[in-house]
């Protein structure tokens, strides 16, 4: 009887050990995927750069080319952003005006959606709402890791939704700039944002966004309406 209990205990012991080993290996596998040298001292610096990427309060104009399933739709976006509060308001209009959908995000969460055809609420919630959060709100981090690469630095954070990677590249005479963002799930890039800047601005002037899960891309011309007094972070 005692021997049987001992055997069972050993079995449980080895199962736990085996589980821990597998779990640690899978985590390392994800980290190993991102080549580069870890630079722990840069984690806070990169997080600061993300939170300082935009002013606290600003208005944005978007001219968007939405490509999805062989169709191209041109949209105009009018956005009001309050980053400290986590608020974003968007009015999306068609090429010739008329509201197509409206979104209010409060404290980082979707508060209100008004949608007109051909768009559907569920699609807007999964696409546009998430895009706005990724584009304009200050991200939350669980356990961020910074990596040094040949052309810059990456900031990686892993949560239950996958790996989020913020890509910083050295810009000529402008230091490190956010050049991209992606989400990886099962070692597959499912979501990607690329930023382009004009030489005279620290704010992105063009954004290309690709969502492979929902099968759409956005090309976004961006113009800012920033009060000079409020844009005092840089």
């Amino acid at each position: 009887m005692v021997k049987q209990i001992k055997n069972e205990s050993r079995l449980v012991y080895w199962i736990i050990i085996f589980t821990l080993v597998i779990a640690s290996c899978s985590g390392r596998k994800q980290l190993r995927h991102h080549h580069g040298i870890q630079v722990p001292e840069m984690v806070q610096e990169l997080q600061n750069r993300l939170s300082d990427l935009y002013p606290d309060h600003f208005n944005v104009l978007h001219r968007v080319r939405l490509n999805t399933r062989g169709k191209t739709i041109v949209l105009k976006g009018y956005l009001k952003v309050d980053r400290p509060a986590g608020d974003v308001d968007l009015i999306a209009q068609g090429e010739m005006g008329g509201s197509l959908f409206e979104i209010s995000i409060r404290e980082g969460k979707r508060d209100l959606i008004k949608v007109s055809e051909p768009f559907k609420s569920q699609w807007i919630e999964q696409s546009a709402v998430q895009d706005l959060i990724h584009l304009y709100l200050v991200p939350d981090f669980h356990n961020p890791v910074a990596f040094k690469e040949a052309h810059g630095l990456n900031l990686l954070d892993i949560d239950e939704k996958g790996s989020r990677i913020y890509i910083f590249r050295n810009a000529e005479n402008a230091g490190l700039k956010l050049s991209g963002f992606c989400i990886e799930q099962n070692n597959r890039k499912v979501y990607k944002i690329e930023y382009a800047y004009t030489p005279d601005s620290d704010l992105p002037s063009f954004i290309k966004l690709e969502n492979r899960n929902l099968d759409y891309t956005l090309e976004i011309n961006v113009r800012y309406m920033v009060s000079p007094k409020k844009h005092n972070k840089r």
Binding site: N59, R63, V74, Y78, K80, I91, G98, E219, N221
Partner: protein, 248 residues
Amino acid sequence: MEKSSKRTGFRMILYTLTLFMVVCCNLFPGSGVCTEAQINSEEGHLISEDRLQIILSNVENNLGRINTLKTKLIQEKNIALFSEPVLSQGILLFKSPGNIRFEFFTPFQSVLLVDDHKVATFEMFNGRWKQIDSGSKKMMGIILDHIAAWVKGQFNRDNLYRISGRYRQNSKRGCTIILEPRAKEFKNFIQAFELGINSDMDRLDYIIIRESGNDYTKISFFDDRINIPLDDIYFAGDIKLLSPVPQW
């Protein structure tokens, strides 16, 4: 299905008329930008029905004399979300019988061309012109049809609007023609178009597109040139031939 096609129809009409207003108002350039306060102050006495018919007739006659036109414009979009208007700058070129170039330079670059009944729109994305699909051929046909009517000064050919007019507070500055959509579904999108006509009745000073709520767009025209030679190349709807218009 029927509901959907009805909505599509209204959207087409809306698209058409908005485009139409934007294009046609450029055929009558005049003053510079006005603020909302100025807009309100311009509302004066209602124009009588008889007088309105004379004004519309005169405008139609005067517009018929324009063979070519180029004018600068400023669009002021007032949207409830923003405390300040969004300003856009551009130009409009027109060449009789139906060639049109409607171009914005800031804050975004875009060009709409009408050349021999073909409509083409282009947008600048990340430094490259990209052609935009402006919709079906049927929609284009409607657009062209309306443009043709507006060029001739026929503001209400299909009886889509209830027309009224007001003198501007200073009558020397002309009058405002107000077009209110008759169809309820149309009115859900556009409450009214207001056309500011100068005192000589041969120019459109501005157009105001009143949308839902308090949102409105005002397009003002200035620094125009009438009946000057305009090369056909400016209206060529080919992305490879998109020629920049020299400034004036």
